[in-house]
């Protein structure tokens, strides 16, 4: 037992440090939970949000969803309640989260991320009168479930083309957060876009973690190491689809005097001033628009149903122009955009 005493101390220290960091991230909940909207018009709609791990403040996917909720809240004066997933939680905890929101009268309930796929499927059947929406998943076909998905490959195609047009070495890189089919879509579009510009381009590819280890979305250190490796190998533009780990990719770009491409939101706008010159563009995935549109449709009494795809045509994905680094190639990118929208270019969703 004495060896186990020492071991317990180490283990506990580990648990505590994890818990403390997690609490740091979770402290925002306090302000948002159970708040009532104060500005804007009045609406008796109560919207429940169940975030994926990281929740509000993850500077990425969840924050984009929160932005959509905040916009709807200030415009429609809806009531909201929010809750987020914790690492290593049981599947029943996800179900519980949705059930608690539904029980408390929140309708619609929006689940952020495909991790809720099975939970939404089960809970939607138990609450046929509650409307559910899930982002990034199409598995559920229940009448009261709306699937909000994105054509990430189309937006990634455009930034891939931008990377190839800007690369002097004919050598670019891709850093994915976690090796899942969702992130593979980003890579597939990016590769296709780059090759559309330069068929002989060399593309590095790295994933930070393998599922079920989802820390790759929130580990700037790993992102930096991976991007450094790609810059060292000769790449001069690196695109990341790695959520919070992307900060490390930007830092690596600065150190190597290369260029980085952001993801999800227009990351030029949120990056610190010293990193901004190294951010070429960002592949914008309008999770905020999807959330806002869904809430609006419910409020207007004509809810979105089935699977709604937010693609280039619908303005669901795009490339950003902040910083002006893509101004000289914008016409070329817009041309690609037009071809994707009219169907001339079909963008693959899987990496060969």
């Amino acid at each position: 037992m004495r060896r186990s005493t020492k071991f317990a101390a180490v283990l506990t220290a580990g648990i505590l440090s994890v818990a403390l960091t997690a609490c740091g991230g979770g402290s925002d909940n306090k302000n948002s939970a159970n708040d009532t909207g104060s500005s804007g018009g009045k609406s008796d709609i109560k919207v429940g949000m169940a975030y994926d791990i990281g929740g509000r403040g993850d500077q990425s996917f969840n924050d984009m969803a929160a932005a959509g909720l905040d916009k709807a809240k200030s415009e429609f004066g809806i009531k909201t309640s929010e809750s987020e997933a914790t690492p290593d939680e049981a599947e029943s905890a996800k179900e519980d989260r949705l059930i608690q929101l539904a029980d408390a009268g929140y309708n619609p309930v929006i689940a952020v991320g495909f991790a809720y796929s099975e939970a939404v499927g089960k809970v939607a059947k138990q609450y046929p009168d509650v409307k559910f929406a899930i982002i990034d998943d199409t598995a559920n076909t229940d009448k009261n479930v709306t699937n909000l998905v994105f054509a990430e490959e189309q937006g990634s195609f455009l930034v891939g083309a931008a990377a190839a047009l800007k690369s002097k070495a004919g050598h670019i890189g891709f850093v994915g957060g976690v090796n899942t089919p969702l992130i593979n879509k980003f890579e597939a579009g990016y590769d296709a876009g780059a090759k559309a510009v330069n068929p002989s381009i060399k593309i590095e590819s790295a994933y930070l973690t393998q599922p079920p280890d989802f820390t790759g979305f929130n580990d700037p250190g790993k992102g930096k190491t991976a991007a450094e490796g790609q810059f060292d190998a000769g790449a001069d533009v690196v695109y990341h689809a790695a959520g919070g780990s992307g900060l490390g990719v930007f830092q690596a770009a600065k150190a190597a005097k290369g260029l980085a491409i952001g993801v999800d939101s227009d990351q030029y706008l949120t990056a610190s001033a010293d990193l901004q010159p190294f951010i070429l563009t960002s592949m914008i995935k309008h999770v905020d628009v999807a959330v806002y549109n869904f809430i609006k449709s419910v409020k207007d009494g004509d809810p979105l149903t089935g699977t709604v795809t937010f693609d280039l045509k619908a303005g669901g994905v795009d490339f950003s122009t902040s910083g002006g680094q893509v101004d000289d190639i914008k016409s070329k990118l817009d041309d690609f955009k037009k071809q994707i929208i009219d169907g001339t270019i079909k963008v693959p969703t899987t990496v060969k």
Binding site: A9, A22, G26, S81, E91, D96, N179
Partner: protein, 365 residues
């Protein structure tokens, strides 16, 4: 070891004091952070709804299996930190096998469980083999094997899953092999996993093995003093290998209640981290099959009841991790204090006895 009322009271007092201490520490953390202390405790210690009771039993039984796998190693002074990797790999392979449905109905279930035990045992056995042949610490090798298991499962999952969905998973287990569970909690819309019974079976096996077999005696002897065990003719190398195989075999069972009672496949959202939770539960339960049961239910209770914290108190349910950490730490410290106190008391008692047996002689002389 004779029964001693004071000793038993001390043993029970340690975990109780630890829980009270943990509540105080957690309250302090909440107060410092400016969070509503009262609402947090009223949420956690509120009466669980029927659905929550079922969830507590379910996740308690899964935690129990995990802790038992760890405890087998602990009793032998082996740290199988690889329970996490062992159960994930075993659950994946078993889910694949069950999803392929080579056998009909319940036979499919039994076969898959056997496969899971075998896979868990083999994965843990690698660490045992490295330890006895190359002297590699099982702590290091099992951590490495956890990482390898992650990569291996991620790779294999991509190979066997249907394309076109973001939540890739193995084929669903056929309906004839899915287990409906026991509706033992009235008014609960969900059932207790049928394979929660595995926890009971494993508990009986663990108790019999350790207390009623020569192997169990040798295992405990080796755990308490390896040199003494060697001197009395125990083959320590064989013991290490067999203990790791048993530990890994039990680890293989961890995912089975979830697989056949809830998810019906192994995918990206299959529950992770159970192996590490098991280490804490085993420490709290002092490697005792009954102690572990209480510890597992306590952890499951805290996890389940904390789910509502974000909505009722606006506090992240991660706060419960702090509480669990403090409980484990203070329990271990408390046991150590009790152990030293008992040792000292024993020494005083023996010394006093020696003193009293010597005195009459001196008087006589």
């Amino acid at each position: 070891m004779r029964f001693d009322v004071r000793r038993a009271a001390l043993t029970l007092a340690a975990p109780l004091l630890a829980i009270i201490f943990a509540v105080l520490v957690t309250s302090l953390v909440l107060a410092v952070a400016g969070d509503p202390v009262g609402e947090v405790w009223s949420t956690i210690f509120s009466k669980p709804k029927p659905r929550n009771i079922v969830n507590i039993i379910n996740s308690g039984s899964v935690l129990y299996l995990s802790a038992l796998a760890v405890a087998v190693g602990f009793r032998m002074n082996l740290f199988n930190i690889g329970v996490d990797g062992q159960y994930r790999l075993a659950a994946f392979v078993a889910a694949y096998v069950a999803g392929e449905a080579w056998l009909p109905g319940k036979l499919n279930v039994v076969f898959s469980i056997v496969v899971a035990i075998a896979v868990g045992a083999i994965w843990a056995g690698i660490a045992g083999l490295l330890r006895v042949t190359r002297g590699v610490s099982e702590v290091i090798s099992t951590i490495m094997l956890n990482s390898i298991a992650t990569y291996l499962v991620a790779y294999l999952l991509r190979q066997v899953s249907a394309k076109g969905t973001n939540n890739i998973h193995t084929n669903d287990i056929p309906v004839s092999s899915q287990l409906a569970g026991f509706k033992i909690v009235p008014d609960a819309p969900i059932a207790v996993y049928t394979l929660s019974l595995l926890a009971v079976v494993a508990a009986v096996f663990y108790w019999l093995l350790l207390n009623r077999t020569v192997f169990g005696f040798n295992l405990r002897a080796t755990g308490q003093s390896e040199s003494a065990a060697v001197a009395s003719g125990v083959n320590v190398k064989k013991m290490i290998i067999v203990s790791m195989l048993i530990s890994g075999g039990i680890a293989g069972l961890i995912g089975m209640p979830l697989l056949f009672g809830d998810s019906y496949n192994y995918g990206l959202t299959f529950q992770t981290g159970l192996g590490f939770a098991g280490i804490a539960v085993a420490l709290l339960g002092r490697n005792n099959p009954i102690g572990i049961a209480f510890a597992a239910l306590l952890f499951a209770f805290l996890n389940e009841q904390s789910n509502a914290l974000q909505l009722t108190a606006g506090v992240s349910n991660d706060i419960v991790n702090i509480m669990q950490g403090v409980i484990v730490l203070s329990v271990v410290v408390a046991y150590e204090v009790v152990r030293r106190y008992n040792n000292a008391a024993e020494q005083r008692r023996v010394a006093a006895q020696l003193e009293s047996t010597r005195q009459p002689e001196e008087v006589a002389a």
